[in-house]
């Protein structure tokens, strides 16, 4: 293994640049370094003006998603050595406006989140404070996978539908709605149906499956969307075929 590697990093400062450019940095290649360690080396030793987000460095806070050699990746969980001998292209996440360098604006997602009502909805009065809702381990497993989303935005960056239509709710938001729909304690699926079944909801998805391919936490948003399409279709069918009282 060579002991150096080149990172070709997107730079963009809106005050001075008309469009993003690439800047090359030569850094040590160490087997234990992830891409983020390389960026931190640049920031601390070569160029203090490079901007990017990061925090936990253990793949759970969701801050450090970027495009590495064309693929959306969590840079704290992607090792430099996998790309040797380089160079490695590091770009901001696709499908979001660039704020600066490797920082993108995810405001669109943050505004979509509350629309899918990602909280537990109970139609009855809340239970007294002294007791938990019972939930069997198998019932918990039903929604567990969809509860693991870290909102890292890799799926939005990979989604060809979101690339064309920014009104699309998108993989993570729909998976999160399903997380609550499938929770045995929740009674809010009817309330979420309007937004999920709208033109910008599940039906916009063409089932390319890129979202699930890039998800670093195996949440499988594509699976969540397919499953919900079936639920919504059955529901529509029931509305057509059954008398009101039997729905």
């Amino acid at each position: 293994m060579a002991d150096r590697i080149t990172l070709r990093v997107t730079r963009y400062r809106p005050e001075s640049d008309t469009e993003p450019t690439a800047q090359e940095y030569d850094i040590p290649l160490r087997k234990e370094w992830v891409v983020l360690d390389g960026l931190n080396h640049i920031k601390d030793h070569l160029d203090g003006t490079l901007s990017y987000r990061w925090s936990c460095r253990m793949g759970v806070c969701g801050s450090c998603g970027m495009i590495v050699n064309g693929e959306p990746k969590l840079t704290c969980a992607t090792f430099l050595k996998e790309y040797a001998p380089g160079p490695i292209r590091i770009e901001p996440l696709s499908n979001f406006p660039i704020v600066r360098d490797l920082v993108v604006d995810i405001g669109d997602f943050m505004r979509k989140l509350p629309r899918v009502k990602p909280w537990l909805i109970r139609s009855e009065q809340e239970r007294p404070a002294k007791e938990e809702h019972l939930q069997l381990p198998a019932e918990r497993e039903e929604y567990e996978q969809f509860s693991m989303c870290i909102n890292c935005m890799l799926c939005y960056s990979a989604c060809p539908v979101y690339a064309l239509d920014q009104d699309f709710l998108g993989p993570a938001a729909i998976a999160l709605a399903q997380r609550y729909n499938l929770d045995s304690r929740d009674q809010g699926s009817a309330e979420r149906m309007d937004v999920l079944s709208s033109a910008d909801g599940i039906w916009a998805c063409t089932f390319v499956g890129e979202c699930s391919a890039v998800c670093p936490k195996d949440v499988d948003p594509a699976g969540a969307i397919q499953r919900y399409k079936f639920t919504a279709a059955m529901d529509a069918l029931k509305t057509l075929l059954l008398p009101r009282g039997a729905r």
Partner: protein
Amino acid sequence: MTLSHDVLIVGGGGAGLRAAIAVTDDDPRLSVAIVSKVYPMRSHTVSAEGGAAAVIRPDDSLDEHAYDTISGGDWLCAQDAVEIFVKEAPEELLRLEHWGCPWSRDPDGRVAVRPFGGMRKMRTWFAADKTGFHLLHTLFQTSLQCDRIARYDEWYVTKLLVDDGRVAGVVAVELISGRIEAITAKAVILCTGGCGQIYPFTTNAAIKTGDGMGLAYRAGAPLKDMEFVQYHPTGLPFTGILITEAARAEGGWLINKDGYRYLQDYDLGTPSPTPVLRSMELGPRDRLSQAFVKEVEKGRTVDTPYGPVVHLDLRHLGETVIDARLPFVRELCRSYEDIDPVRELIRVRPVVHYMMGGVHTDVHGATPLEGLFAAGETACVTINGANRLGSNSLSELLVFGARAGRAAASYASGVRGTGGAVRPGVWAQAEEERRRLERDLLGRDDGKEPISVIRQEMRATMEEGAGIYRSRDSLAKAADKLSALQARFRCARLDDRSRTFNTQLLAALELSFMLDVAESIVHCALLREESRGAHQRVDFPLRDDRRFLANSLVCRDADGSRRVEYLPVTITRWPPGERVYGR
């Protein structure tokens, strides 16, 4: 534009979100906002793994949880606060259940509990080994249904505004635009978490830079028990990633280079194949980390490029248990160590994890500075004493986040009744802070060295001088070095002139807070001439209840000088005694 709220919360992690919800529940007329330097779901609560403690089983009792906490804290805990904490913890964890938190379950559908270090009963609720992640996302998502909680995401608070002895708001920078604004408020709650980043090797995320402690200290509010820094015994070498205590609670063993369960040599009990509560691997964190240092001294650890390590052995637990109870541990070991704990040993060493100290508050989260509140790791209510027990911190941030929210709401309602208009002096302070940021930092053109060099030296200084074992000599050297670093910081080089997402400016402001916090730790550690919990002085190896059964308070006076006072520990029902584990 005037930005103004009744209650302003700094920090959007577990404590901040819980406080915000409590404010809206308490008084729906109040305007509440969260200012956070990251999107709330990025907050460091997300990294907590093992669980949250609260009495729920019939064979358990509040008194036992209180005793474990107090003895675990080496009798430095405020016992009245602990009694409130253990009583309200179950209500808070149940509330999280009602909000949808995916707690792991027993076969009958009830919430499951697991053992944890220093706890004599099973009372740690968990969501596999991603408890903090689920707790944070549940709180954040629950908060979204309340559109009266305003959010300033990715804004960084640089200063508390204080008017006539009373908090009046903050000055903050919006990172995306660089605009600097005063946000006025009747009450401010600091919920910014800890400061692990002042040490070189920590489980703490990059954002854990002691901002709230620094803000409070500079505004004249005292910091309490700062000398008590928790080293978690099991971090992965190089990365410092936490391997949860739950790995030992499920039956994992700590072994030295000879394959020997060395904790039996340190008055922690005798080895047994299955976990025994309050014994061996389920002893408290301070004692386990200290035992590691002794093993290093005996030459019984394994050398690696990242320093000496011991091994955590989970192999005998089997794949089924590991996948069901510790899936994240397996994922982290595979990703970052390239090993599979089902078949291989995990290399671990102690790692800076948690601050027992913080902003001095009462049981309502109120600080001595009127209108200023604090909760979570930023605060020191004193339930953790000289050593926090694992799984008490998530419960703490809920109990005292909620209490601080309610107290701030009630305070703000009272101030509103009296008018509470912002006075001209406040605007002058805000203007002065804006000038400091624009001229002294963004406009600096004669800087000498990069801030990363100063930061690195600060971290090395803290590990060297104020680590697991300290002495007068090591601390005095650290104090001198930190004071030199403060001077060098004032001449540091800042070359990023952009207003847009300027992370260099952010790093400089964070470093400045960290230097203040580091100095307060070293100063209090120097003055505490005894060994208690996580504070071990090689020159004063015994606990000294006659002189130091007291909480330290460090305070910055108006002239910038530092003053330390001691408050007697509040003892209710548990007189100081010997800490007994494994016998």
